[in-house]
């Protein structure tokens, strides 16, 4: 649905030039939720804004739904943008219009026939759970409600793709959770493809099927969540399941085990203890439901040196990732 190749964008100023996006390749399949995770200044925002040409890339290609965005003329670009919804960190609502007016604005812009607008607005507000707030002004809404208006507005023209620019970063954890549930729901019900940028691991955990870590304008790793969980040393896997507990225990071998999919449900630790008669100790860990899969991660201590545990480690490697 979205395909980015060799994307580069450099900002020049008097102090020199900064490569905000420095050669990024990215594929988001239809119905996928792709999260780009990174600190502020990593270039995520520029990357996202290059998708709908709010920023013109210096090099590389961006295609959305098979349409090569970099080659479009102004009029064509406007039409293409109708098919790409976008939501913003600070909501970007029109303060002078009511909730209904803000959603109607999107319909006016896309040239939807006047007759059906009112009904469509009501439909969209119901979809995001804002029926009854239609006549309120943005200033009277909570952050979560404002973002719901933003989502309703973004979906007005029935886009296939939604771009999310830190959509939950200005919200408290509970509201974040409810907005993520809504996005997940829309992804499932409408088959909406979502490309989002965020600095919050929770977002990736809750709704992403694929993710990438971005740093200094580049992807340092990317793939489906399942793949990443199987990749030894994956930053994302570590970030999704932060482990505490000691990394060294006297007289024991400490390892981190990451399992995903059906293995997450299997009694692996019990089997380990039984088969190798090992007094295995769990130092930390959890099993959680991700959007894509279930996954578990534990830090365990096996008595004895690594050499004494060769068989046990082999057993674990067959079931998940040991690091």
């Amino acid at each position: 649905m979205i395909e980015i190749r060799g994307l580069r964008k450099t900002y020049r100023s008097r102090k020199g030039s900064v490569a905000a996006v420095d050669g990024v390749d990215l594929r988001v399949g239809e119905g996928e939720v792709f999260g780009v995770l990174g600190q502020s200044g990593a270039g995520k925002s520029t990357l996202l804004r290059c998708v709908n040409m709010l920023e013109r890339p210096d090099a590389g290609t961006v295609s959305v739904g098979g349409l090569e965005m970099t080659r479009l003329r102004r009029g064509q670009l406007r039409l293409a943008r109708h098919g790409i919804g976008m939501i913003h960190q600070h909501f970007a609502l029109l303060s002078s219009r009511t909730v209904a007016g803000n959603v109607a604005f999107a319909l006016e812009v896309t040239g939807a026939p006047r007759a059906g607008r009112k009904q469509r607005v009501a439909e969209l507000l119901e979809m995001v759970g804002l029926t009854g707030r239609a006549e309120a002004y943005p200033a009277q809404l909570s952050g979560g409600q404002k973002q719901r208006v933003g989502i309703a507005r973004a979906l007005a023209a029935r886009p296939k793709v939604l771009l999310s620019d830190e959509a939950t970063s200005a919200l408290d954890p509970e509201t974040t959770e409810s907005i993520l549930r809504l996005l997940h729901d829309l992804n499932q019900r409408l088959g909406l493809t979502i490309l989002l940028i965020t600095h919050e691991m929770t977002v990736v955990k809750r709704i992403c099927t694929s993710a990438a870590v971005m740093r200094d304008g580049r992807f340092v790793e990317s793939g489906t969540i399942t793949e990443l969980l199987r990749t030894p040393g994956s930053e994302l896997a570590r970030g999704l399941f932060p482990l505490d507990g000691p990394t060294e225990v006297a007289g024991a071998t400490v390892v981190d085990v990451t399992v995903s999919g059906p293995e997450a449900e299997a009694p692996i630790i019990a089997e380990l203890a039984r088969r190798f008669a090992s007094d295995v100790r769990i130092l930390g860990g959890s099993v959680e439901r991700l959007a894509a899969t279930r996954a578990g991660r534990w830090r365990i201590a096996l008595p004895g040196a690594p050499d004494d545990n060769r068989e046990a480690l082999k057993f674990l490697s067959e079931r998940g990732v040991v690091s």
């Binding site: 804004r49 709908n52 709010l54 670009l77 406007r78 039409l79 293409a80 943008r81 109708h82 790409i84 976008m86 913003h88 600070h90 970007a92 609502l93 029109l94 303060s95 002078s96 219009r97 604005f105 999107a106 006016e108 812009v109 896309t110 002004y137 943005p138 200033a139 507005r153 023209a157 771009l163």
Partner: protein, 215 residues
């Protein structure tokens, strides 16, 4: 001079002032909006040279004290209105003086619209016309009305100076009767009328801003 005579003078002067200020405010609103929008639209991109020229013209207009502008544009006033005396003639320099003033207010009001909101409209596929009309001007409307109120009050001040060169209005009254003939009653009455008038303009402006603002 009896109070009823003063009153008569006053109503006449006030009418002239309202006419001068009203018409020039209307023309200024249109002209200033146009110039202000152009200043914002040409700020970046290929039209940048136009911005520089326009900005320079606006600055020239802003740097001349009104009393000097008033005299300097006399040939132009004569060409447009046919005379340089009277309230209609005063409207020309008033408008020329106020447009750059209001244009800068419009420019800064439009810049106050969050770039985020403009980007959102662009991302939705809005045309430039839609962005100017439905986003920039509409979102800035409370600030624009507040700015127009300031401009109208400035115009009241300018219009008094127009009295110096035979423009009529309350300023003319104050100079001819209050200053040249030592008619203190007229002076006091003019001051009171001006204060009341300005207060009224400000009140109406504030009321409209409150009604329009939903922030």
């Amino acid at each position: 001079m009896t109070w009823s005579e003063v009153f008569e003078l006053l109503t006449g002067g006030l009418q002239e002032t309202v006419w001068m200020v009203g018409v020039s405010a209307l023309l200024t609103a249109v002209g200033g909006l146009l110039v202000g929008v152009l200043l914002v639209l040409t700020d970046a991109g290929r039209l940048r040279p136009l911005n520089v020229v326009l900005g320079a013209i606006v600055n020239v207009g802003r740097s001349l004290p009104f009393i000097i502008l008033l005299v300097a544009v006399i040939p132009f006033t004569r060409a447009v209105v046919g005379t340089t005396i009277g309230t209609d003639a005063a409207i020309v320099p008033l408008t020329i003086g106020a447009i750059p003033f209001f244009a800068r207010i419009v420019e800064s009001a439009l810049r106050e619209v969050p770039p985020d909101v403009v980007a959102a409209a662009t991302a939705m596929g809005a045309t430039r016309r839609q962005i100017v009309g439905k986003v920039l001007l509409r979102e800035a409307l409370p600030a624009l009305v507040a700015g127009l109120t300031i401009t109208v009050i400035a115009l009241v001040g300018y219009s008094a100076m127009a009295g110096v060169v035979g423009g009529g209005g309350l300023g003319d009254l104050a100079i001819r009767y209050g200053y040249q003939r030592f008619e203190t009653e007229v002076m006091i009455a003019t001051v009171v009328a001006l204060v009341v008038f300005v207060q009224l303009v400000q009140m109406v402006g504030d009321f409209l801003v409150r009604r329009l603002s939903h922030r």
